[in-house]
């Protein structure tokens, strides 16, 4: 299945990636190849196989509502590119 340039650019936009002309070309080719590979699954007869959202045969893995220790603000912020007081600082978000 061949992806169009527009589709690749749309995906890049959703992922907040900026692609050059060459990169777009490259990914049109590579992403299309990946889809082709996955498309082989369509050859399987899955009529008798119920759809699933999960490959593990697990159900209802839950925890009780009990407190666990937290990180300190300094630990939480240790890898932050920018901080201000006890906050992570990012570029202004325009609503």
């Amino acid at each position: 299945m061949a992806l169009s340039r527009e589709q690749v650019q749309h995906i890049a936009e959703l992922a907040r990636l900026e692609l050059s002309e060459q990169e777009t070309e490259l990914f049109v080719e590579q992403l299309s190849a990946i889809l082709d590979y996955a498309e082989q699954l369509n050859d399987l007869d899955t009529d008798a196989v119920p759809p699933t959202a999960q490959v593990l045969a697990l159900r209802n893995v839950m925890r009780s509502d009990e407190l666990q220790p937290c990180l300190t603000p300094d630990q939480a912020l240790a890898n932050a590119p920018q901080r201000q007081d006890a906050y992570f600082r990012v570029r202004a978000i325009l609503e």
Binding site: A53, V55, P73, A76, Y87, F88, A92
Partner: protein, 480 residues
């Protein structure tokens, strides 16, 4: 031309749990310093694994049951992918096609008319971090990141701002009865969005839908929806087309403002959350949750009118807030003797509400406990004090926290019913008011009220008014 508005509502409510949705950090936002309630899971560190909080699942299912929903036996979580600084993983764990609760309804009353609002779904997700906008930068506090959040979505069954207001009030009342959320819009524990469209009456096809966000209070919900309906009608009247956009409510200027276009509609690329096994709600678990359904507002209101025999309007007021309803019931239970539930209701909704309103406290912190109110009413009922004095005593009880008996005793407020004492006062009043006394004798019976009033004044309201009236009549008859 007449127009019909069609409205669907989406409400997000933070769930009252000890810990967050997928990690053991405290779900506590009001008093926490920034970034003190975080861990690798809610900070979205690579490689960590979320684990579902069972209490949050049960709170959502319980809410669905209260909203008459179907609880499917199979439900799962999905990833909703988008980029924003309040979302550290680049996706929100939410539910897409298989929510915990589906197809319910909520009955509301709008201006006296009973209306049934369809509930399309109730699903569970995680809240995002909190952003603080500060000049040229934005600051991120992850305490809110991962707080359990339920989303309640209606069918497009609402048609006016009043419908929306009634729905939201009833929904909040139920969330509070269930104890699953504070329902406070002021601090963001409950948030609301409305999808609004307008079409000419009789038109088959719905108009273009506009989403209105930033509704941060009940008042703004009502104003924003009314405004947006008018705005869309005006566009159509002028021969224009309503654009499919997201609008924000401008609280300062009371209007909706364009936020963004919906063209190139959101592309969230939902897919099943691979880190979380699905949820199966079997019959046993479902029954266990259903057992925890408390008496809901409608049932309670019905019971209050039936078994206490109080006025319907009062039952509706008393049951608006569960704590008030409980207070009323406790006071009724504490009443010995003939005090009627309607009397208790009158005092709770009248003088007690006035005192609570003036002091800004809620009924749980009320210094007058239900038993205290009951003993005050017993003093009235037994004739020890009269109604006017009782109001003063209640004020004093509220201010000092002391008991009614103590206040009545210390201040000498007991009603004067002693006939000799009252006769003495009546005679002096008649002496001081020969004119009215004469008028009464001449058949102008309505001056009796004036004469009783004079006696009440002399006794600072403590005389037994009925006894006073009798004595005046006797004395005047004797004197003529």
């Amino acid at each position: 031309m007449e127009y019909v508005a069609t409205i669907g509502m989406e409400v997000h409510a933070q769930i009252l749990t000890q810990t967050k949705m997928f990690c053991g950090c405290p779900n506590e936002l009001t008093s926490a310093a920034p970034n003190t309630h975080t861990c690798p899971v809610c900070l979205g560190m690579p490689g960590v694994l979320p684990v579902i909080n069972r209490v949050a699942v049960e709170a959502t299912v319980l809410t669905g049951m209260a909203l008459n929903c179907t609880i499917p036996s199979f439900s799962k979580f999905d990833r909703k992918n988008y980029h924003y600084p309040d979302l550290p993983k680049g996706y929100q764990i939410s539910q897409y096609d298989l929510p915990l609760c589906t197809s319910g309804h909520l009955d509301v009353t709008v201006e006296g008319d009973a209306r049934r609002i369809g509930i399309r779904r109730v699903h569970l997700e995680e809240d995002t971090a909190r952003l603080v906008h500060q000049g040229g930068v934005s600051l991120v506090d992850f305490n809110r990141s991962g707080v359990p959040l339920m989303e309640i979505v209606t069918e497009a069954d609402l048609h006016s701002a009043e419908d929306a207001y009634a729905y939201l009030s009833k929904l909040r009342q139920i969330l509070r009865y269930l104890g699953v959320s504070t329902g406070n819009m002021e601090d963001g524990a409950m948030r609301c969005e409305a999808n609004i469209s307008v079409r000419p009456e009789g038109a088959e096809v719905l108009g273009t839908k506009v989403e209105v966000k930033n509704l941060n209070s009940f008042r703004s919900v009502r104003m924003a929806i009314a405004y947006e309906i008018e705005r869309q009608i005006a566009v159509l009247e002028q021969g224009g087309r309503v654009q499919q956009v997201t609008m924000g409510w401008d609280e300062t200027n009371h209007r909706t403002l364009f936020q963004r276009s919906k063209e190139g509609a959101e592309d969230y690329r939902y897919f099943p959350e691979p880190d979380l096994p699905p949820i199966e709600v079997d019959e046993e678990w479902r029954a266990g949750i259903r057992c925890r359904l408390p008496e809901l507002p409608d049932e309670k209101e019905e019971r209050f009118t039936q078994s206490y025999g109080i006025r319907e309007a009062d039952a509706a007021l008393l049951t608006q807030d569960l704590q008030v309803a409980n207070y009323f019931e406790a006071a009724c239970a504490a009443c010995e003797g003939p005090t009627s539930p309607q009397t208790v209701a009158n005092w709770v909704l009248g003088d007690l509400y006035r005192l609570l309103g003036a002091s800004g406290s809620d009924i749980q912190a009320c210094p007058v406990r239900p038993e205290g109110l009951a003993s005050l009413l017993a003093l009235v009922e037994s004739g020890k004090i009269n109604g006017t004095t009782a109001k003063d005593v209640l004020n004093e009880m509220f201010a000092s926290g002391r008991s009614a008996e103590e206040i009545v005793k210390n201040k000498g407020l007991a009603q004067i019913s002693d006939e000799d004492t009252l006769t003495e006062i009546v005679l002096s009043v008649l002496d001081q008011n020969p004119g009215p006394a004469q008028q009464y004798r001449e058949g102008k019976l309505q001056v009796l009220g004036f004469l009783v009033g004079q006696v009440m004044r002399q006794t600072r309201g403590q005389a037994n008014a009925q006894a006073v009236a009798e004595i005046i009549k006797t004395e005047l008859a004797r004197q003529s």
